[in-house]
Symmetry: C2
Subunit: 345 residues, 2 copies
DNA sequence: TTGAAAGCGCTAACAC
DNA sequence: GTGTTAGCGCTTTCAA
């Protein structure tokens, strides 16, 4: 019995052929005699061989690994925990990661999880890719002005973003037609009879926040509602609750509100309830994303669905094409949102 | 300008020294003249060199990567999405992953995320480690009778489990003194005056479910409460709601309930509210975990805190020791729970 | 269709 | 304290 792990050489000897032949069989290259093929396979089984990834990567120059990176600004470590912990607790990230993984798994690939929220950690991401530890990156930015996409683009490293960057950068991305989502929300609220509308927006320095608001406003303006009170939130539960409270204090007559994501909508519903408003009887609420928060919320949220798993899958697909060189130009793929009607509006 | 990435050779030439010397500087090996050190560093900066991971791994036999694997039984793909998506949405997993990442990050390591819920995917995990793609595995099992720990142990692959396996396996693990947690819950409920207690348990085929129940029962028995109605749940929101409904139907007089995790407690609170019970005035509720669900729940949950980030950090630490050979025998580290009093009890 | 041989970029003896 | 050299295990021309 050999004490080290079996190598190609061992298998070759066992099968009575050369290393090259074993390699061909393993990699499914044609032009190998069927008899020899099965002899090799037997030898592989007998020796319990499995190819050494490092050795293979060294010559193919492929890590067969991709990085899933969550990139944010360097926020203070709140009591909600580290950046990584906060992101992992966010249902939005969960759906994106799930979509990526479901695309990768059938291909026997597994993502490396990275969190970047400082210059040092961003540099680490770039270094990781440069040294060939991963072939490309899927990046989810949580903030406007995130410098990572540019760093990656400058280094000519394959990457695909989830959502359009705030400033133009020559990289591929997948995104949602956020404005259409805002319109959907406006039309639904109007259709159910709401007349005193307001909105809790996302951060107004990121495209998703801006576009959802723009679409909502635009649809309302076209129906004769030129002015809508707004309160800006930060896509978190707490910020949604706080924004709702402000709105309620200044405009107690509100009968319908569009909240730019589900997590904030959950916070808003809570504030509404504490303020003695029934949802949807007194105030109808429409959320955004259709994340797990939409179902966890009481009442369950009527929301604008973002097909995140699909978007994430496409993102991974695009990255693979870039890595393989099948696609060289930056590409964007935009998905359409869909209204999901539940109890809150 | 060279078109390929710079190699050690390039840096050596640039600095006028040998490859070995550059390697020494890069790896911080002593016995290098300070002048030469800085000359090398300059050359590294000038060439923009970064070491090729595959080449290094090939000779060091270290991937400098660990796998974070979530292992479950092959459940049908419910409408809640794939296995990966479900796990990612679970606040329990989020805290574990966050803890692992926070341990790894300062060490410039990044975990590879793997999900195993079938024989094929479990084999993939084993193969991944065997081929040296990762040096070890951190495994979180979601089910009793998970065969993965045994597979890993048999292959002598470094791994550490989160929670004691249902059947004894010679591997290291971190865990909580679950029974003590159950006791804490019982004492708190009794102390606040509850006399008609009940409990929603976790799955009774896993140690965590059994032990929490045993501790709860034990503490009550010692105080003269020999019989407690129970309803078994599956650690999910829905199962908690369903179990609570059963309990309420059969024992409408209940005035206090210990629910074996926060997610189920959230579901239980919802059922209680729908059933016209005020929490905690009519029925006090104590959860378990102190996950994000505890804060999201209305009222906020009084719960038994599991220091998961710390446990996860220790798990990663143990794995590193095993990988480095500093630790060879299976080890267990048990943490103590703590009661966190909030609004629900 | 198969084999021989040349590296991929790096580390680690070993020699100086 | 530094350089020389021998591989690590694999893929891939190039010949046969």
């Amino acid at each position: 019995m050999i004490r080290r792990l079996p190598t190609l050489e061992d298998v070759a000897r066992e099968a009575g052929v050369s290393r090259a032949t074993v390699s061909r069989v393993i990699n499914g290259v044609r032009n190998v005699d069927p008899d020899i093929q099965s002899a090799v396979r037997d030898a592989v089984a007998r020796t319990g061989y499995s190819p050494n990834r490092a050795a293979r990567s060294l010559v193919t120059r492929r890590a067969e690994t991709i990085a899933l990176v969550v990139s944010g600004a360097g926020e203070p470590e709140g009591e909600k925990g580290s950046f990584a912990a906060r992101m992992l607790a966010d249902p939005f990230f969960g759906r994106v990661a799930g979509g990526v993984i479901d695309f990768l798994r059938p291909r026997s690939m597994h993502p490396v999880l990275m969190f970047a929220d400082s210059e040092a950690t961003r540099a680490e991401v770039v270094a990781y890719l440069r040294q060939g530890s991963a072939d490309g990156a899927l990046v989810v930015s949580t903030h406007a002005e995130d410098p990572l996409p540019e760093l990656l683009a400058e280094a000519a490293l394959p990457c695909v973003l989830f959502a359009r960057p705030a400033r133009p950068v020559p990289v591929s991305y997948v995104d949602l037609a956020h404005a259409d989502g805002g319109r959907l929300a406006a039309e639904h609220l109007l259709a159910r009879g709401c007349r005193r509308l307001a909105t809790v927006t996302g951060p107004l320095d990121v495209p998703a926040g801006q576009d959802r608001l723009a679409g909502f406003r635009d649809a309302l303006a076209r129906r004769g509602h030129p002015y809508i009170p707004i309160a800006e939130g930060g896509f978190t539960y707490d910020s949604g609750a706080a924004a709702m409270a402000r709105l309620l204090a200044e405009h107690p007559q509100i009968d319908g509100v569009f909240v730019a994501n589900d997590l904030m909508a959950q916070g808003a519903c809570e504030v509404l309830r504490e303020g003695g408003r029934r949802v949807p009887e007194d105030v109808a609420v429409v959320g955004f994303d259709d994340s797990s928060a939409a179902l966890a919320c009481r009442p369950t949220l009527t929301t604008v669905r973002q097909p995140m798993e699909e978007m994430a899958g496409t993102m991974a697909q695009l990255l693979q094409e870039h890595i393989e060189g099948a696609r060289t130009e930056p590409t964007s793929v935009i998905f359409e949102p869909e209204l999901v009607v539940r109890a809150s509006a």
